[in-house]
Symmetry: C2
Subunit: 136 residues, 2 copies
């Protein structure tokens, strides 16, 4: 069986916690100390209840989902996009739903749609990711 067959009807839910460790390691990795993410007074002045988490933390979670939670690890991201819909805050508990949208067997490509929900079941972000599958 070709590995790409493993993706037929694939759909998965994953849980991610936006912990202080996630926040701190993202900040170290990126060097991004924008006030919106680091200064509670600034964030409040912009209309948020507290510091807003870096949107790209969700892309680190996406990296995990693709790298670690698919039916085969023999994959590589080709393209991805994300739309941020609501702010994410420290200690939010997110649920990601990711499912196959299209499979292109002739070029070993799988396209997914995904959504992140917060603990109130509101969509905080959604997007698409396209991977290549290594058949050998």
């Amino acid at each position: 069986m070709n590995k790409i067959e493993l993706f037929n009807n694939f759909e998965k839910e994953l849980k991610f916690s936006v912990t202080i460790e996630v926040y701190n390691t993202f900040q170290l990795c990126s060097g991004d100390k924008n006030y919106l993410h680091t200064d509670e007074e600034f964030a409040k002045a912009k209309g948020f209840r507290e510091r807003v988490m870096y949107g790209n933390i969700l892309n680190t979670f996406l990296s995990y989902s693709i790298g670690m939670a698919l039916p085969t690890p023999d994959v590589m991201i080709q393209t991805q996009d994300i739309q941020y819909k609501r702010p994410v805050f420290l200690n939010d508990e997110l649920t990601m739903n990711i499912k196959v949208d299209e499979i292109h067997k002739s070029v070993n490509v799988v396209q997914f749609v995904y959504k992140f929900f917060n603990q109130e079941n509101k969509v905080v972000a959604k997007g698409h990711v396209q991977i290549g599958v290594f058949e050998s």
Copy 2:
């Protein structure tokens, strides 16, 4: 002057080094230990000269660029996309070119196009990012 006026004809080049610290902090943040990024023999078996860096490391650099390198820090990412064109390896020295593509003053939105080049001046990734500008 409205802050959005600061983006007229904005274009910038930024340098990013894919250091072992960047790699390690990304791995801690994401929890992604896919073999392509962690196992040299696996990466070689897939046709790469060594471990391939996580594509989403580039999105942490994008977070920096938007958060720290624009004419005002009073911004927030709304949408972004990326296409990966070539693998990035440990210790690559990347140059990012980011420039304004469209400005929509009535809704305080700026759209950028960006490209990442490696030290051989080859495009490794490119995409778009849309931000909202806080006018107050």
